[in-house]
């Protein structure tokens, strides 16, 4: 494991940059626990102060320190993404491994459901959820909904690997030595799909965080918890751009772009690690 990471850092510049950004983000998350102000409190500092030595990223019109809001927002947004990724990975593993191993009717039924979820446009569904839940909409709920929508693509990927694993001799041997299906899937097949699961985690986080930001900016989530999207929501509702409080908008937008590029670089370099053909292409250059 350590050598893999070391080699990736040495030979793959995308991975090195992605890892650096990830470490910075983790640093921000750790830092957020030392915030001098409670996250949801407003008017704790003078409002509308431009960035200076005391307030590194200025203050908002709601009297909050932009820097500390950003740190706490990053923590919540990342936590949200990790939560969705974790739950939806479990779903896609269960569906993908079962469908690939069982085959036949089970496979057809699971994949029919899978493909249906894949093509359904999610944004109107999410808006519909907000519309009927309104104030009952909380973060746990949103994590559950996005997990339920975000597993299908990766389940297909896992299934395609599981299908080839099924025909391998060691699976035969496990069957003949009387292992149960659950045991074969968890102990024999799971380790083979783990690299794919890690790579898809990054893509899933890109997707779920993007949705969170969009919904929050529109005010369709619990807007009292600071997240990246929520910061833009409040900045917009105070017309920060028109009144010249540009740092209030620039800070979250900049952080979001860095966050997404970092996640994307990691997912790209992991795909390359999994698929040796693209490594050959790199050598060809």
């Amino acid at each position: 494991m350590f050598t893999i990471v070391r080699d990736l850092i040495r030979y793959n510049i995308e991975f090195a940059i992605g890892l650096l950004i990830l470490l910075l983000l983790i640093g921000a998350v750790v830092l957020s626990f030392f915030s001098p102000y409670p996250a949801a409190d407003i008017y704790v500092v003078p409002p509308d102060m431009p960035p200076d030595a005391e307030f590194w990223l200025g203050t908002t019109s709601r009297g909050q320190d932009t820097f500390w809001q950003l740190m706490i927002g990053l923590r919540n947004t990342l936590g949200f993404g990790v939560g969705v990724a974790f739950l939806s990975r479990i779903l896609s593993l269960v569906v993908g491994l079962t469908a690939g191993y069982a085959g036949g009717r089970t496979d057809r039924v699971l994949m029919a459901i899978n493909d249906s979820i894949m093509v359904i446009p999610q944004f109107p569904i999410l808006v519909l959820f907000y519309f009927v839940l309104k104030d009952n909409m909380n973060w746990l709920m949103l994590v559950l909904i996005l997990s339920a929508l975000g597993w299908s693509y990766d389940a297909r990927l896992i299934r395609s690997i599981a299908m080839s694993l099924r025909t391998r001799p060691f699976t035969m041997q496990s069957v003949y030595s009387g292992m149960s299906m659950r045991k074969i899937l968890v102990e024999e097949h799971l380790p083979y799909v783990m690299p794919i699961v890690f790579a898809t985690t990054m893509n899933n986080m890109i997707w779920s965080i993007g949705m969170e930001i969009t919904l929050s900016v529109l005010g369709f989530t619990d807007v009292d918890t600071p997240t990246m999207g929520q910061m833009i929501y409040w900045a917009n509702s105070h017309s920060a751009l028109i009144s010249g409080i540009w740092w209030w908008v620039a800070a979250p937008v900049g952080a979001i772009v860095i966050l997404f590029v970092g996640l994307f670089l990691l997912s790209m370099s992991m795909n390359e690690y999994i698929d040796p053909r693209s490594r050959l292409n790199r050598m060809g250059n």
């Binding site: 109107p124 751009l241 979001i256």
Partner: protein, 334 residues
Amino acid sequence: MTAYLIFVARRFGQLLLVVFLGISATFFITHMTPVDPVAETISVITNFSKADPEAIELMRKTLTELYGLQGNVFEQYISFWSRLLRGDLGPSLSAFPTPVSQIIFRALPWTVGLMISATLISFLIGNALGALAGYYRKSRILKIVSLGLIGLQPIPYYILAFILLILFGFVWPVLPIAGGYEMNADLTLSFSLVLDIIRHSILPALALVLVGAGSWLTGMRALTSNIVTEDYVTFAELGGVGSTRILRSYVVRNALVPQLTGLAMSLGAIFNGTVITEIVFGYPGIGTLLIDAVHAGDYSLVLGLASLSIVGVAIAVFLIDILSPLLDPRIKAE
């Protein structure tokens, strides 16, 4: 040919399943929640005025009927489907008594137009650049352009659109940043109106193209760089076939089929992006309509928009899926 017909029939079955599951999902989302739409609507109506209890009771009865909420869940489910199949989505509340379907069909051309043009442009640009980058792998310009487009690809639609809005609205205001046409435009068909509509669609389309092109580029570049190592391409090169012709008829033609399958698979995401981009630029399509409906508490309009999105995207995916094998003479549709 029979194999193709069987393929189409099976895909049609899948289409029906998607529509059934999607519509059922919207039904159960709206009916399995603690929130009562009738009570919500009444509270919206009576918010700023006093109303007679009898009138409220009458209103409750009418609304229950309009929303198809009489009887138990199973009866409601049946009546929901029968109304939907007749194309009757009920009257809109915020624009009472205009039928929801009429409001949606007024917004639909904007969304469809924006989505089709942006998808076509990003598909063409992304695939063309991807093919070139995969074929001429040493070109530095192509590498830089690819890097730029790939770097934009993970950024959420909302944020990219928002950045464009800031750039072209505040920093360098050259393009209109809101609406689909000038406020006081004369809406009879004329050259200046068409020009105006195109000018207003540049920024929303640009946001969609910038996010979309990168993924086509990556896919096409990988496909192309695999195909150029095939024997028949080497053979054609040795036989003195021009590189433009090799690229066009030997490489791209082969690589395009999986890309079309990719288009069918990502159509739902593209639709999401279009809807979200519309919201940023206040474009008069389905996205803006959806948000307005949510803010106005227009129950039947929100439900109608969600159902229609599912049906529309499912049909579009079905069409791409059944048309793409026709482009590839090798595939006997399976």
